[in-house]
């Protein structure tokens, strides 16, 4: 048996969420006295971080049908490798791929799944429990997984990545998809060209209607750049097409949980909070001292964004200059 962890490459290297998942697997494997096998499609990149994160073995899944993402083929491939490895625990990141493939694997094996886990499993004899967020972050629930095979998809940014000086043995795993056909035809792929993928970003600068118009986003982008942060926005801003749809964070948009979230000119409606309340530190800048967001903030500045943000950019630049 082994703990199997599904991993991916993004922008040329192993994704941070994948390293978090391998770390998570390492902690479970240590408790169960087994080891972690990481799996990756293709695997044409530097894979050494998978070993450093805790994988004993890395299997590169090989089949031409896996070249484009298709949940049916990928789930079949993962089923084959999980069977060959006799894996009792399979771990995904709760991201776009995880949301499509993890439920397929759960149904194939009729295995209990905890989707969007935020805590390490509590293992005691036959009992295996995992905590996840429920009610859009208003509460957590402890789930017991009762089936022999267990599947967990881990909410990104739940744990810091710890890399150690270890190496994994890397091998190819030939997947047989001869008898599987998917009727889904990919017509077009539109890549998001921003440098930082919002759900992966550790620092996020977000702004709302308080910015008055799309022409005023220059200072938001400059603030983000000074911090090395990704940019995001509130729902009205995306709905008015001031900013692209993929930047919209909140209940209907993307849910994020960075280390630091700046909310500038966002009032803090409960639907917005549902998508950002997992952030470790929240800074709110708003001219309205009664904006509800201040109640959910760690740090607040009551003031006009058009005056505060330029000063803040300068303060960050001074801070960075002193650091070097």
């Amino acid at each position: 048996m082994s703990v199997l962890v599904y991993t991916e490459i993004g922008k040329g290297k192993i994704k941070k969420a994948s390293l978090e998942a391998v770390n998570y697997g390492r902690r479970i494997a240590a408790e169960l006295n087994t080891s972690v096998t990481a799996i990756i499609v293709g695997g044409d990149a530097d894979l050494s971080d998978l070993g450093k994160a805790g994988a004993k073995k890395v299997l590169k899944l090989k089949n031409d049908k896996l070249a484009n993402f298709d949940g049916k083929y990928l789930a079949e491939a993962i089923e084959q490798v999980a069977t060959a490895e006799n894996s009792t625990i399979i771990i995904f990141s709760h991201d776009f791929t995880g949301k499509e493939v993890a439920p397929r694997i759960a149904a194939k094996f009729k295995a209990g799944i905890v989707a969007g886990a935020v805590g390490n499993p509590v293992i005691s004899g036959d009992s295996f429990s995992v905590m996840k967020n429920v009610f859009s972050g208003k509460a957590t629930a402890m789930y017991s997984i009762n089936s022999a095979k267990k599947i967990i998809s881990l909410l990104p940014n739940s744990f810091p990545v710890i890399l150690m000086d270890e190496t994994a043995e890397v091998a190819d795993f030939a997947v047989n998809l001869d008898n599987i056909t998917s009727p889904v035809k990919v017509k077009e792929v539109k890549k998001d060209t921003s440098e930082l993928n919002l759900p992966d970003a550790e620092l996020v600068v977000s702004a709302g209607r308080g910015m008055k118009g799309p022409e005023n986003w220059g200072m938001i982008e400059e603030l983000a750049k000074s911090l090395g942060a990704a940019t995001a926005c509130s729902r009205p801003v995306a709905d008015m097409h001031w900013r692209p749809h993929h930047e919209h964070v909140g209940q209907t948009g993307v849910a994020i949980r960075p280390n630091l979230y700046f909310a500038i000119g966002i009032s803090g409606a409960i639907q917005h909070l549902a998508g950002v309340n997992g952030s470790k530190t929240i800074v709110v800048i708003n001219s309205d001292k009664d904006a509800p967001f201040f109640k959910s903030a760690d740090y607040g500045i009551v003031g006009d964004a058009f005056e505060v943000v330029p000063k803040l950019i300068q303060a960050i630049k001074d801070f960075k200059a002193n650091q070097n």
Binding site: E8, G10, F69, G71, A75, F96, K99, E100, A102, P103, R104, A106, K108, K110, A111, G112, I113, A115, N133, F135, S136, G137, A139, T140, A141, M142, Y143, S144, I145, N146, S147, P183, V184, K185, V186, V189, K190, D192, H245, H248, Q251, T252, G253, L260, I270, A274, T281, V283, K295, A297, D298, Y299, G300, I301, V308, L312, A315, I316, D318, F319
Partner: protein, 246 residues
């Protein structure tokens, strides 16, 4: 075209959540229940739009007890033609998917739609499970859906961008923002909903693959620390030394 839309019964986003029975059960006293917004705004409304242009029938399906019926009637008021309630406890995503798959397998639906996730358990799992249980194609997080003849064209969110795919019917999809705009039921719809068929179906036997041991409310943030607007460098210092965020 025959469309099946899966709907969940969830506490409204603005509802205050609490637990009872030693934190093992949601306290439903005073909680306003609604159709899961993604199921309603995106899946159900797009299904109705397709029916209006292409003809056909929209059925809503729900797994849960009789206390969910007001929520099911709201779906009928918005415009679904008929409803099915499978009288089983929605124990977890697999339990729900298993019941829906058992019902849908021989009914010849062209499209099975669900919201991208529920706002109660936030799992995003039922669609993918249905795909395996029914051996049908599944497109997750769809933001646009058009049907021409027997082929659907779907735009959906994937890792690092979006993808446009073509897929012959029947298929399963989960619906995300962009599919359609919310509809408010009118008085005629509300009146009509009372006499539309709501069939209660007995569940199949099902194992509890998972169960909730206990709930815990997330601790709110302690008091916000205010920094004067004229000294943002103090904020930078606190973010470095105290929050250790930069």
């Amino acid at each position: 075209m025959k469309i099946l839309v899966c709907i969940s019964n969830v506490p409204d986003t603005t509802t205050k959540i609490g637990f009872t029975n030693n934190d093992t059960t949601l306290n439903t006293a005073g909680v306003q229940f609604v159709i899961n917004p993604y199921d309603e705004w995106y899946a159900l409304v797009r299904a109705l739009e397709l029916k209006e242009t292409l003809g056909g029938n929209v059925t809503i399906i729900h797994v849960g007890g009789a206390d969910s019926e007001p929520t099911i009637r709201k779906g009928l008021a918005i415009g679904a033609d008929d409803a099915v309630r499978i009288d089983a406890e929605p124990n977890d995503a697999f339990a729900v998917a298993e019941q829906i798959a058992a019902y849908a397998k021989d009914k010849g639906f062209d499209l099975i739609m669900a919201g991208k996730e529920t706002i109660s358990y936030n799992s995003s799992m039922v669609g993918g499970m249905l795909a395996e249980l029914l051996n049908l194609p599944y497109i997750s997080l769809a933001t646009k859906l058009d049907v021409a003849g027997s082929v659907a064209t779907i735009e959906h969110d994937i890792d690092g961008g979006t993808e446009v795919v073509e897929c012959p019917l029947p298929l399963i999809l989960s619906a995300s923002k962009g599919m359609s705009e919310a509809r408010i039921p009118n008085m005629r719809g509300i009146m009509a909903a009372r006499s539309k068929p709501l069939t209660v179906v007995a569940p199949i036997a099902s194992d509890k693959l998972t169960n909730i041991v206990s709930y815990k409310l997330t601790a709110g943030r302690t008091d916000c620390k205010y920094i004067d607007a004229s000294t943002p460098e103090k904020l930078v210092e606190l973010l470095h030394t105290e929050a250790k965020a930069i």
